[in-house]
Amino acid sequence: MASAPHIAVIGGGSTGIGIARDLSMRGLDVTLVEQGNLTHGTTGRMHGLLHSGGRYAVADQASATECIEENRVLREIASHCVEMTGGLFVKRPEDTEEYFQEKLAGCAECGIPAEVVSREQARAVEPHLAKDIDKAITVPDGAIDPFRLVVANAASAMEHGARIETHTTVTDLLVEEGEVVGIEVEHDSGSGKRVHGTEGGREEIRADYVVNATGAWAGRIGEMADVDIEVRPSKGVMTIMNVRQVDTVINRCRPKGDADIIVPHETTAILGTTDEEVEDPAEYPEEQWEVDLMIDELKELVPMLEEARTIRSFWGVRPLYEPPDVGSDDPTDITRDYFLLDHETRDDLPGMTSIVGGKFTTYRMMGEEISDHVCNQFGIDADCRTADVPLPGSEDFSLLRDYMDEFGLRSPIGRRSVERLGSRAEEVLKTTDPNPVVCNCEGVTRAEIQDAIEQSGSDLNAVRIRTRASMGNCQGGFCCHRMANELHGEYDEAVARQAWDELLAERWKGQRHALWGEQLSQAMLNYALHATTQNRDNDPADGEPVDFAAFDAGSTPAQSSGESGVAADGGTEHGD
């Protein structure tokens, strides 16, 4: 072909970004648009489980088999995003032996390595498990950072020539003579990196093919060309603990149900989840009972959760889909499988395919299948390489190197930086300038923040998901202003102030669901620091002009330089 076909991918979650990487590696020309940050929709709101497939081994063996395959692939290509914690399916006395045996057999049938361990063995691995559990099954579950994974996929896609536009909303599908020929978008703030205050604008992006990878939002895109895509969005809560009560993924060994998993994630543990169908993936109630349920159910497995501190909760929306003829009433009955909807064969609308359903763990496999499908449209015969080529950050990466000395960082800050950055550590951390810590809870240094700013513009929430800065115990109380400080210089004060406000608002959103005990105390401290010490709630730069002359001019106005300090202290060495 003279020039490669241009593919527009809508959606910057794991699926869309996986497709963009795959297609661009195969030599196609790709433009990806995302309405918010990367991971803004469902991907950034998951529990961080790298499935072994064990959870689906009884009820959905096709999904289980895919999971274990992709689990093995991601450990190789995304090693800096994955922590192989291992997982346990824990049986309590009230859980049936029959299901336990079904789980064990199911794992064997799907090729998932699984072994039975006694109560004593399980508690030796996880001492905070309840004393009265019966036994458990070990499986190769792991923890995965969805932000880091998506950012690394985006970096790889861009290396292969893809254009990625965040904060860009699709306003229409371009349809000519019954065929989709592109998309019309609205940029929030110009194209390229986001910079607050930069004027946005409309753009027509013509494409040879459009892929709708918008998950729970797929129906919205479909409507623009009058096709029905009946995604059934289902919400689930995730409650974040302040520390890792467990270092292994803990699953309850019983048929599907709410509040049955604890995933260790970075410095935290994440409790999940619920499964409730919602009308609108962007607007749904976030309810107290859901948070309470996580604690009250999961304390059966790990009793210390009852008194433990949670730092926030968030909700995600699963993009569930089932063919219209199935008609499940209960969202928990809807398959977790994914579906490729070719609108040419389905709706007589050539030029676009939607991908719906599916799971984060199998994002790469979904990307491969849809990329094959797209290549077929153009008669392109190109092999998928995404399972073989490591992501940026996971190349030749060995934790054995002692980065701490090399970059002048103390443990554990050095270790944590290197774990996040993987093989990019040297490139990011090697600086001759002072490299102080900006976020103490997560050990994030200036160099890492500056690297993220370079990638994502003035958007501090995008910096946050790249670095974990402001995601620890204090939830930004001590570091939001420091992050805003890091923006200044590259960006002017008004831009930094807007980004700062946005970060404060985002951090508050999730904390609202954790406001009791220690975290309420933390919230009051944060409020006092931000409102009392910084007066951010009444910032005169945002409000009415102040009549400065009306205020107190001081009891001992300084007359000449050098004397006021001494005079004020009565000439003593002490002063204040």
Partner: protein, 424 residues
Amino acid sequence: MAIESEVLVIGGGLAGLTSALSAARTGEDVRLVSYKQSTLRSASGLVDVLGYTPDGDGPLTDPFEAIPDLPETHPYRTVGIKAIRDGLDLFDDAVPHYHGGHTDRNALLPTHGGTIKPTARYPASASAGLASDTRDLLLVGLESMTEFDAPHAAAHLDAAGVPFDVRGVTIQFPGDLRADAKVTRYAKLLDTNGEVTVRGRDRPVREALAARVNTELDEEERVGFPAVLGDEHPGAVRADLADRLGADVFEVPMGPPSLPGLRLEDALFAALDEAGASIETGNPVVDFDGEDRIERVYIEKNGAEIPNTAEEYVLATGGLVGKGVQSDREGVYEPIFDCHVAHPADRYDWFENEVFGDHTFARFGVETDDDLRPLDGGGDVEFANLRAAGAVLGGYDLAAEKSGSGVSIATGYAAGHSAGQEAV
């Protein structure tokens, strides 16, 4: 044998220290016990009385004018204007190096975030930074201190419309301090004017610091630094720098750990010591005996519960931050005496959805009678000889109003005074 005193104050923050001082000045035998580090080390060291009304009007030029219109449940209404003034007099007397005491008007000071805020009293170290002063100003930040970015703060102050030209520069602190050195490390080095090595030459740190700032100074008459200018001898550090710069020198108050807050704490403890009170720090009050009156409290020390008795008690254990008010998923409570703390039953009614919304939790605390004695759910006095002061009190939002220090001083003064009189 119980440890005895006439007045026992529980809590070593601004309210507890003021209560103890106030009671000691009535001539009584006073004992103060405190457990954890006080919240003063998290506070800026500025002493606010009232910067904004509960409706958000402000910055107020005259807090005393606005106080009569506060809601009746506000602690200022409970103690009244006279107690506020008497409390401030006591404070001014105990901490003479604080400024801003000669009028009722608020002063405006720059914050480390680049905004300005109204406050009633400020340490001498901050005084050359007044935002109503029209002299041009240079802010100096330190390269490895992420807490304060001087060019950013300067641009922000400019956006706030300050009546002077303001510039910010970032310099590297002379010597070889680690990138994440604590504020006390800078302060101690400046206190002792220790030698630092600059381009292979040893020089006293103040001289080396001033030399770096001098290359940046462009006829500004005052220079602001982050609040690291000395711990023991801040006056001398500022005077020396001012001399070398030919400009006034001040500190911009910062977040925790806050040297101005720590200095204020030291000064108040010294004043209390001088007033003859006995002080015990580091041990918690864990239990008490008494029905209508408190007979004794128990202080845990090395695993033993030591009884302490007094005629009168002052509860100054702080609010949510200081843990004088605590909560769980079911409710909000006062942990030592289980005094009633009113709160909505549904914890989703404790907050607003906006980050700076009118949060109910910010007003959590005990309600009292006119004599600051906590009331139970039915409106009756919990204990005849227990008074409450400071952030353990409910009914005011210290962060939005900028009233935290003032309420602690006014109610601390009133509770201590009343306890001292009653104990006679």
